[in-house]
């Protein structure tokens, strides 16, 4: 596809025309707010828990959080539909240009916003600039706090470390992190498909949150394949992109309303 680079918004047009885009739809009408996605994400991606004090102070490491607001006054009060908020993997992401060391580049191969932990120096500019506020920073070395360890034969043993997913880097202090659309699963599926000499098919794998969701609210897949489920859902009339007015071109579509 040819895009006139002189046009205003050419960058957005390129992002839109890109191939290999992964995307997600979240049906807010069926989301029950059960937190299964949050737990699944934490277990899959070696997220650290931060303890009561830091959690209340806005330092939680959730890569996905479920937002709810209130409408009306008692007794005509309603909780707004749960809104699971995660990295929108913007096609035109505000976090990307502000990082001085390219620690959060746009992946041309996977069409994702990457977070390269080992490149990050911790300016936190990306998190400031993220309109969705979905980035979380490793304020401390939460994983290796001796509080979690037992002393066995004079050595600190972290039993919980046994559960770490070997496919995901464990982050230390001073590094930004965020939802990766379970890129380790993407790679695994691509690798398997390539070994078998075929393409990854729709529904072959999915992200940890979508896999766990008991209400099947989350759908994941290639949004640039017209026949894929996620692509069809994201063009549904109920589909809304969050803060679309900022031209961030998010890859997550929320199905709002009934």
């Amino acid at each position: 596809m040819k895009i006139d680079l002189n046009l205003v918004g050419a960058k957005g047009a390129i992002a839109e025309a890109a191939e290999g885009k992964w995307g997600m739809t979240i049906d807010q009408d069926v989301c029950t707010g059960c937190q299964a996605c949050v737990a699944a994400c934490a277990m899959e991606n070696n997220l650290s828990f931060v303890g009561e004090e830091d959690a209340g102070y806005g330092r939680t490491q959730h890569w996905i959080r479920i937002e709810r607001f209130w409408e009306g006054e008692y007794p005509e009060i309603k909780a707004t539909p749960n809104q699971p908020m995660l990295c929108q993997q913007c096609g035109h992401a505000p976090c990307e240009p502000v990082c001085p060391v390219f620690a959060t580049p746009h992946s041309d191969a996977e069409q994702l916003n990457l977070q390269v932990y080992n490149r990050c120096v911790g300016t936190r500019y990306c998190a400031n600039n993220c309109p969705y506020q979905v980035r979380s920073f490793n304020w401390r070395d939460y994983h290796i706090d001796p509080f979690h360890a037992n002393m066995v034969d004079g050595k600190l043993v972290f039993a919980l470390h046994n559960q770490f997913n070997p496919d995901v880097t464990v982050r230390r202090r001073g590094v930004m992190e965020k939802c990766t659309f379970c890129i380790q699963r993407i790679h695994k599926a691509q690798d398997t498909a390539k070994a078998e000499g075929r393409d990854v098919f729709d529904g072959e794998f999915t992200t940890a949150c979508a896999q766990a969701c008991p209400a099947d609210a989350i759908t994941f897949g290639r949004v640039d394949h017209h026949e894929s489920l996620v692509s069809q859902l994201s063009h549904h009339e109920r589909g809304v992109k969050h803060l679309e007015e900022l031209n961030t071109l998010p890859r997550v579509t929320y199905l709002k309303g009934a």
């Binding site: 041309d108 191969a109 990457l114 880097t169």
Partner: protein, 184 residues
């Protein structure tokens, strides 16, 4: 005062002292670095040389390399399958640890040699599939006893090869230089 010091340093003895100081700092630093570059001590002084000499293929003991991320260390059962039938195993001093480990059922604590940092997600399979030979990265094992790394696996070294392989193929180059290919 300052002048006195300078004056003292200018005389031959002073120059020698300065020389010795810098030399010692340099050699200590060199020693420190060199310790990080040596092959670690292994529980068994495994002679790769001998095994390769017998004509055993790499993939016979490390079959994971062609199928997935890790090449793997062979299980004791695999060692024993052959050594069981070799008379020397019963008598050799060097093979005693293997014998003991198998008989006692304890595992041998090999020390990994060819490692990449935690933040690099390496997968053997695509490299083998792309036609790489083991020795291109791990060196010629027919020459060494304990496995040692002929080179430090760092990003420049990886990229060098990736770029060479991609050539002018834009799509390949994109994939092979994408940060997300190795770091996530």
């Amino acid at each position: 005062m300052l002048k006195n010091i300078f004056d003292w340093l200018k005389q031959p003895l002073g120059l020698i002292a300065v020389g010795i100081f810098f030399l010692s700092v340099f050699s200590v630093a060199l020693y420190g670095i060199s310790t990080t570059q040596q092959a670690p001590a292994q529980p068994i002084e495994f002679p790769h040389k001998t095994h390769v000499g017998f004509g055993i293929q790499c993939l016979y003991c490390h079959p994971g390399a062609s199928k997935g991320p890790a090449a793997g260390i062979p299980s004791q059962a695999k060692c024993w399958a052959c050594h069981n039938q070799i008379e020397k195993t019963q008598t050799s001093e060097l093979l005693a640890p293997l014998k003991n480990a198998v008989l006692s059922g304890e595992s041998i604590q090999w020390v990994p040699v060819a490692i990449v940092p935690d933040f690099v997600q390496f997968n053997h399979r695509p490299h083998i599939a792309a036609g790489k030979n083991c020795e291109e990265c791990h060196g010629d094992m027919s020459q060494v006893t304990i496995a040692e790394n002929p080179q430090v696996f760092n990003m420049g070294w990886c990229l060098d090869c990736h770029l060479k392989n991609a050539g002018d193929d834009v799509e390949k180059k994109t994939k092979l230089t994408d940060c997300g290919t190795c770091h996530y």
